[in-house]
Every structure is written in structure tokens, then in C-alpha cells.
């Protein structure tokens, strides 16, 4: 197994006193692609938000480390600067901040260096073309008036521009038409390489077609109940979660 990039051990966390993650452990190695499957309400999005350090959630015990360093106490922006990136399930609208301004500010914040306008614009324009985004979207306010598909493409645009070490993709393919899923999955495939890893929540296997999945985790009721290789995806697709739930109940 590759060197561990993200390592979560026995994580308990919740919101307003209600426990959502109940002793979850997970590790993602460098360059790997992991998929999390699970029924609605199992805690998948919560996990993503907690990895990114959302202040709404409280971590009661357990640890999270990234590249061997404990990140449990780090603030969101500090985690981002270490190389974590979350593609939001419902990206926020930020009126008054253009897409270009947003990405340039982020890039500067993460790299700690001034980003030169001319090469930045060139890269932005090229990346937008790859994602089949109209160039005028660079001047539009972040996600304001964007369709669902445009919002998701803007997330992938940020992923490619910021080039983090680990991409957390929270249903990046949901609510998209076939062409849009194609574009988004090509974007993710472009991001992924031997150094960059992905942790993906999806209900749709299409986004995985261009990726080699290393490991699949089934998350139910705040715990990882089953793990396996890519074959687990087909298994779940055929049989659903019921048999796992039943097996759980028997235990």
C-alpha cells in the first residue's frame, strides 16, 4: 500500500450533541482513489465536512492526520493550505466576488505567493475551455445565478486550478445531465495522478469510469461496515444496501 495521505482513526463526531460518526476509521494513500458508498443520511457528507473542519460539527474523539500530521485541531483554511480540497455538494453563492477573483485569492492564500495575473488568466481560460465553460463566467459572481451543472463545473475548475493533494468530492456528479457528468469526470481524471488522491461520494458510477478505483468503503449509520475493491461497487449497484443492513441487524 502506498504511503498514507489521510488517516482517520476511530472518529466520533456529531452536531449539537447528536453523534453522527460513530468510530469511523479510514485511510487514503498517496495517488489512490477511494469511493464511499452509503444510503442517504448515513453520514457521508458529514464526514466530508468534518475532514474539511466545518465548525458546525464537533469531534468528540478520534484523530485525523494528513501526511502524518494531526490536523484535528486545525482550522479550515489551514487544512486547505495543507492540500485538502472539498468539492461541495451544494456550492455557496458569494455575491460580489467573481470566479476569477475567488480562485486567484485562494491560489495566493494556499501558495503564500503572489499569483501573476497574465499566466494565471491564461491557465484559467484554458481550464475553463476544457470544462466547456464560457469564458465570461470568469467575470461572474461565484455561483450566483448558476445552474446546478455550472456550479459543479466551477467546483472542478477550482480543483484543477488549485491542484490540492487530496480532493474530497461530495456528490459532484449529482443532478447533472449525461454530458455534464462526462465533463466533470474528465476533470477529475485529469486531476488524479500518482501524487494526487481522491475520496469520492457518489451515487453514480459514471464519474468513476475514467478512474481506477483502489478501494471502496460502505458507510452506514456513521460506521464503515464493509470495505473492498472496485468489485464492491457493482455488487452494491446490483443488490443495494439492504443485504448489508440485514447482515448488520443480525449481528
Amino acid at each position: 500500500m502506498a504511503e498514507n495521505l489521510l488517516e482517520i482513526k476511530d472518529l466520533h463526531a456529531g452536531v449539537e450533541g447528536k453523534e453522527i460518526l460513530k468510530g469511523l476509521s479510514l485511510s487514503v494513500g498517496k495517488g489512490e482513489v477511494h469511493v464511499i458508498l452509503g444510503p442517504n443520511g448515513s453520514g457521508k457528507s458529514t464526514l466530508m465536512n468534518i475532514i474539511m473542519g466545518h465548525s458546525k460539527y464537533e469531534v468528540t474523539s478520534g484523530t485525523m492526520s494528513f501526511e502524518g500530521e494531526d490536523i484535528t485541531g486545525l482550522k479550515t483554511f489551514e487544512r486547505a493550505r495543507k492540500g485538502l480540497f472539498l468539492s461541495f455538494q451544494t456550492p455557496e453563492e458569494i455575491p460580489g466576488i467573481t470566479v476569477e477573483n475567488m480562485i486567484r485569492t485562494s491560489k495566493q492564500a494556499i501558495s503564500g505567493e503572489r499569483v501573476k495575473i497574465v499566466p494565471f488568466r491564461r491557465q484559467l481560460k484554458a481550464t475553463m475551455e476544457e470544462l466547456k465553460m464560457k469564458p465570461e463566467y470568469a467575470e461572474r459572481y461565484m455561483n450566483v445565478g448558476f445552474s446546478g451543472g455550472e456550479k459543479k463545473r466551477t467546483e472542478i475548475l477550482q480543483l484543477l486550478m488549485l491542484n490540492p493533494k487530496l480532493a474530497l468530492l461530495d456528490e459532484t456528479d449529482s443532478g447533472l445531465d449525461v454530458d455534464a457528468v462526462q465533463i466533470v469526470s474528465e476533470g477529475v481524471a485529469k486531476f488524479h495522478n500518482e501524487d494526487n488522491s481522491c475520496l469520492i461520494i457518489t451515487h453514480n458510477t459514471r464519474i468513476l469510469e475514467k478512474l481506477k478505483v483502489d478501494r471502496v468503503h460502505v458507510l452506514i449509520n456513521g460506521e464503515i461496515v464493509e470495505e473492498g475493491g472496485p468489485e464492491l461497487i457493482d455488487d452494491i449497484n446490483r443488490r443495494g444496501f439492504t443485504h448489508i443492513l440485514d447482515a448488520q441487524a443480525e449481528k
Binding site: N49, M52, G53, H54, S55, K56, Y57, E58, V59, T60, S61, T72, G73, K75, T76, F77, R79, A80, R81, F85, L86, F88, P91, E92, I94, P95, G96, I97, M102, T105, S106, A109, I110, Y141, Q158, L162
Partner: protein
Amino acid sequence: MAEEKFVPKKKTYVEDIERTLYDIKDEDHSVYKTQSGLTEDIIRDISKRKNDPQWMLDFRLKSLAVYNSLALPTWGPDISELNMDDIVTYVQPDAKMTGNWQDVPADIKNTFDRLGIPEAEQKQSLAGVGAQYDSEVVYHSIQDDLVKQGVIYTDMETAIREHEDVVKEYFMTLVPPKDHKFAALHGAVWSGGSFVYVPEGVHVEIPLQSYFRLNAAGAGQFEHTLIIVEKNASLHFIEGCSAPKYNVTNLHAGCVELFVKEGARLRYSTIENWSRNMMNLNTKRALVEKDGIIEWVSGSFGSHVSCLYPCSILHGENARCEFTGVTFASKGQNLDTGASVIHAAPHTSANINTRTISKAGGMATYRSAVKVTRRAPFAKCSVNCESLMLDNASRSDTLPVMDIEGDEADIGHEAKIGRISDEAIFYLTSRGIDEDEARAMIVRGFVEPIAKELPLEYAVEMNNLVNIELEGTMG
């Protein structure tokens, strides 16, 4: 092991924003000051010193009588701290009006240098400049080619001497002294200000700017701005104001009258950054004829108390008003701002778009009136006002009134009030931006639709102000 919330840990409120630029006080160089207070003798004294024609003296005295007969308004911010007996209504600086900065006394010139006025003029980003210091205009200039086209831009005193008929025809006809107590006060003690006349068909491509500086403690500034844009002509006029901070109350009761004739277009931009001992009770009104357009861009950042509601009377068919305003109320400020629009002809239209921010105990009120008279079928008006509260020590109120007669109007109003959402902060910080910067970005984004309408220097100034106001306040 709970994650730290983004709640402020140590609120180190900036007592007053970094105003060094504005706060440098000059020594008192006045050659003459009236006694404080308001009496007939004082009015006669001002009038004599200003060499008023008889009709203007009569006008002042009549206004004084109106002032004495009117009560204070029963609504709006508390202005009981204002004691007219303590206010010096006329302060004559030791400077004669000139068209050459070299002739302006050194420290007065230095003040305007610091404010960047002569520089902007040299860079040709202004086609004409007026600079008022306390009660009198000390500098006025206009580009020769505009003079050749018949454009007049001068101080009000010169206008009375050289264009008496025009001034007499328009002066305080749009804002009559009986309008309210401070309009009457203005009529009695007004001094300084600008007069602009743009002849038919002339387009003044580069803006004119008047800057009003109040230096004397405990004084009032009562400048009068009268602008006439004739048929199919156009103009952009910028007004700036500031004062150093004193611990006594200063008063600003200016009056702006704008006449936009058929097919004409006037953009009137104001950035008000008075110090926080200023009572800013200003009256602005525009009369817009057929196919004319008035555009207001209004930034209110300073003063202790402000009452400012530019009014547009859409008097001719298809007349239009665009109002864009931003107000930032911080500690010790009660800023009551907004707009009013009177639709008095068919097919008139208006857009009102405002943003207000309140912080550190500041009070911000958005107040407006939209009136559609029976003479205005097919009137259209859309209002959008948003308020952002940065903490719960502050106050933010929204009080719009729509008064519509007839059944052919189309009026829409939308308002929002709230704070910066935690989700938006999470989104931005998840992209590596730290929390303070994320907040500042959101606030800048909030005022962006307004900032982009401001003249560039002022937009930069507003951005700096947002940054300074937010620095260190968010923990």
C-alpha cells in the same frame, strides 16, 4: 476537542477608523466668524459680508422666520444634541477665491493636497474643480474648452453676481425653505457651494468635482449646489466632503438642487466622510423632465448622525432615476439614509439599489418613499435594499413606504437583513482563505454592486475603509 467556532475571541474594535488623512486640523485661519447662534443680526451680518443683493437678504430673513416657525421632525434619529446657539454659522477663511492653487494659503492648499484634489485635476481626471474651506470657496477652475462651449462652473457667490437672473429663477425653488426646519436654516445662512450650467446639447465628458472641507470646530457648513443641465446635455458631478474630528458638535446642512431638462442626463456622485462629531442634515433634490435621467451614487461613511434621502421628482414623461447607495454605520454613528422618488408623469421609471452595513453598535436605517401620483400611469419602480449586520450590538432598520395611486403602476420592493453566513465562511476558508480575509471578501462582495458605480478613487477609499473596519474585529 471541539473545533473552534468562528466567533470573535477578542473584539478589538477600532475606536474610530483610521482617518489620519482627514483628521489633520489646520490652525484657525479665519478672518471673521459670526457669533454663535441664530439671530436676525447674525443673518444681516452674513448677508452684508457676502455683499448679497437685496433680494437675497430678504430671502434669508424670510427663511429665518420660517425656521423659527417650524418644529423639529418627529421621526428619524435623535438630534437633540444639536444646539443651534452653539453653532457658528459663518466662518470666513483667510483666502480669496482664486483660480490658481499657488494663490491659496499654504496650509489650506496642503489640506486639499492631502485629499488629492489638485493632483486629480492635473491628471485630467477632472474637468473642473471647486474647493470650499469652511464657509467660502477658496479655489475654482474649469477647463477652457468647456468655457468655450458655454459651460459655467463657479461658486454660488460669483454666480449671483454674474448670472443673477438664472440663480434668482432657480434658487431654492426645488427645496423651498418651508420644506423642513433645516431647509429653512439653510435658506437663512447658506454660504458657498457650486453653480453649474450646462447649455443645450453639451456633453461634459470628464467629471467636475467640488470638495467641501469644514475645518473650524463648532461651526456649520451650509453650501448650496445648484446644477442646471439643459436639454440633451450631460454631466457627471462629484461631491466630496470631510472634516477633522472635534469633541464639539459640527453641523452640515447643505442643499443640492438639480434641474435635469428634457433628454438630459446627470450623474451626481457623493462620498461623505465627515468626522464622527458631525450632524449631517442634508437635503438633495432633482427635478427631471421628459426623457431625462438622474443617477445618484451615494456613499455615507462618516458623521455622527446623518439624515440623507436624495429625492427625485420625475416630472416629465419617461423621466428616469437610478439610485445607488451604500451606508456603513460603525460605533457612535446613527446613519439614516435612503431615497425618495416621486413619479409625476406617465412612463417614468426608477431603480433604487442600496446596501447598508452596521457594526460595533452603529445604527443604520434605510428609509425611503416611492410615490406614484395619478398623473403617472405606467410608472415603474423597483427597490432592492440589503442590510448586513456584523454583530448583535448594532441595529439595522428598514422603513420603506410605497404610496401608489391609479392602477397602471408596476412597483416591486425587496429587502433582506442578516449576517454573514457561516456556510459562506466555510466555503471560502475551505479554499485556503483565512477567516478575516473571508469576512472582508464577503463584505466587499456585498457592497460591490455599489462600489463599481463609484468614481475609482472613491471605490479604492471604500475598499480601504472596509478593510480597516474589519481588521482585528473578528477574532
